[in-house]
């Protein structure tokens, strides 16, 4: 398996950093796209389909109905730019009632200079369970732009978890555009992790949540010197008794972070909570937390908490009194800060996240 990827000429170390294993025993499906070309894709599990969107369009007449259904072509210049004939991306679908615990991996690899245009469709059919890890990265030294459009459909009572790890270059600009539709009783968990330098990331996924549905957005973001990360999540609670949780941990070490969150309650008995925590690790840099709550119905429960600060000296001293050096104590506290308890995630994905966090520590401290 890995030799095959070797022939594909991608940097395997980079893939590992973003959780791509290249190991059939650890994944239930795989997809690898380099620039516009789907280099390889396969499903190793009966209940899940993994292919390129171009292939899916050929195979299923109905796929086009999911294309540009919850994202708008004319949303902005990037959606317009990605609306081309050579656009490619992954199509991942869990069949009705299928329980796909082992994650499907999908990798988008920017290899040559220029623009990568991606349009993905993910469908978790009724009562299915699907876990995806998506790693987006670029070839060492490349400069360019990644425009990644994604439309997620979580059908009735389905569960979808989507863990995305980004690792770019300081010369790469990244513009994901994401929409998620969660049908009655469905749940969607998104984990977004960005720890390496990047020129710019600008992303603001929107989830539309129907009756009894839930959405959770977790993000862990580090902005190093010269990086600009404008990241957020929006939940539109459209159905009765739907809920949303948006949690972000952002760290600036010289870079600029805008941490947005927006919950809109427009049905009875909806619940939403927003939590933005920021840690400033250097004198320069910036963290701007913008939590927004909007109620369009009287019977809603929406709350937020936002806090930005530096590492408390008292905490460093406490750990030093237990034998840690100042650097070790600082590192333990930063690691703790980035820890978000993520419920309902398979161990394989927890491991991938932990590994990525460990790798990033070196740059951070």
């Amino acid at each position: 398996m890995s030799e095959e990827y070797g022939e594909l000429g991608v940097d395997k170390e980079r893939l590992r950093e973003v959780g791509i294993e290249l190991d059939e025993s650890k994944r239930s499906g795989t997809y690898l796209q380099e620039d516009q070309e789907a280099k390889t894709f396969a499903s190793f599990f009966e209940g899940v389909e993994v292919m390129s969107i171009q292939e899916a369009m050929k195979k299923y007449e109905w796929v086009k109905d999911y294309f540009w259904k919850i994202l708008r072509r004319d949303q902005d210049e990037y959606t317009r730019e990605a609306d081309t004939a050579d656009v490619n991306g992954y199509f991942i679908r869990a069949l009705p009632d299928a329980k796909v615990e082992i994650p499907v991996e999908a990798c988008l690899y920017l290899k040559k200079a220029g623009k990568q245009r991606v349009h993905n469709i993910v469908i978790a059919e009724e009562n299915s369970e699907l876990n995806i890890i998506s790693g987006c990265t670029s070839h060492p030294g490349v400069a360019g732009m990644h425009i990644g459009l994604s439309e997620f459909y979580v059908k009735k009572n389905a569960k979808l978890s989507f863990t995305m790890i980004h690792s770019w270059e300081p010369t790469v600009e990244v513009r994901p555009r994401t929409a998620i539709h969660i049908d009655e009783g469905g749940s969607f968990i998104s984990n977004y992790i960005l720890l390496n330098p990047v020129k710019l990331v600008q992303t603001y996924p929107t989830a539309y949540v129907e009756k009894d549905g839930t959405v959770v957005f977790n993000s862990i973001i580090v902005a190093l010197e010269d990086s600009v990360v404008d990241s957020g999540a929006r939940a539109v609670l459209r159905g009765e008794n739907s809920s949303a949780e948006i949690v972000s941990r952002t760290i600036s070490k010289g870079g600029k972070v805008i941490a947005r969150g927006h919950i809109i309650g427009e049905a009875p008995e909806v619940k939403g909570h927003l939590e933005c925590k920021g840690l400033m690790l250097s004198e320069n840099g910036l963290i701007h937390a913008i939590p927004e709550l909007e109620a369009k119905y009287p019977n809603v429960e929406l709350s937020h908490e936002a806090a930005i600060g530096k590492i408390a000296e008292e905490e460093i001293f406490y750990l030093m009194s237990r034998g840690l050096s100042r650097d070790e104590a600082t590192s333990a506290i930063v690691r703790g800060f980035m820890e978000i308890e993520i419920k309902g995630l398979p161990d394989a994905l927890k491991e991938a996240i932990d590994r990525t966090l460990k790798m990033a520590e070196k740059d951070l401290l």
Binding site: A312, M320, I333, R335, F337, E339
Partner: protein, 254 residues
Amino acid sequence: MGILRVVNLGVEVGEKKILKNVNLFIKPGETFVLFGPNGSGKSTLLNAIIGNPAYRVVSGRIMFKKIDVTNLPTNERAKLGIGIAFQNPPKINGVKLIDVLRYCAKVGGHSEETILELAEKMKMTDHLYREINVGFSGGEVKRSELLQLMLMNPDLILLDEPDSGVDLENVALIGEAINELLERDKDAESREKSGIIITHQGHILDYVDADYAAILYNGRIACIGEPEDILNQIRSEGYEGCMAKCLRNMENLE
């Protein structure tokens, strides 16, 4: 030979001078109880001994095991064998009790097995994977602090109000743990561990039998004597009365 020798110590916090010319000498195996009204500088003294950077030593020095530790970073002092149980330790998000216990076990040379064993003994097993001090009750904080010290196995043990905010049931367990840490369960001759205990109310003295007590007053140490005598005097005459008596007795020395 002393384990700790504090000489003419002056300490400032911010712009304020808290300790002036404090002198203290502790031999191996000796346990000292430190009394004093709020704000007299008891916690300041312990923080200065462990090297909290917020407490600035402006005069004098601190000798530990014949080494001048006055300018050593806190972790070096911990490795030399000074351990402290804080009165109000900070909560650290994302850092679990078990993580900190492992750091402590590394200092004391203890195994993972011992961590679990001692956690059981201190009734902290259920808290191992919780964020340290987050949502811990008063008693749980104190038990966690002592558990950390047990794993560090220090030679000089600094206990800042180990009995404050602790219910009676916990005071017994805490007293037992302190006796073990300070080897009070051994013969006086074979004791090697030394300690300084700050206690406001003195409850812990029902369980722990210390060698000496002193009163810290106005940034100075005064009234060294039997712990029970001093505690009784403070209870009957207050710090002021107790000090007045002490100072009268000390007039000839001045």
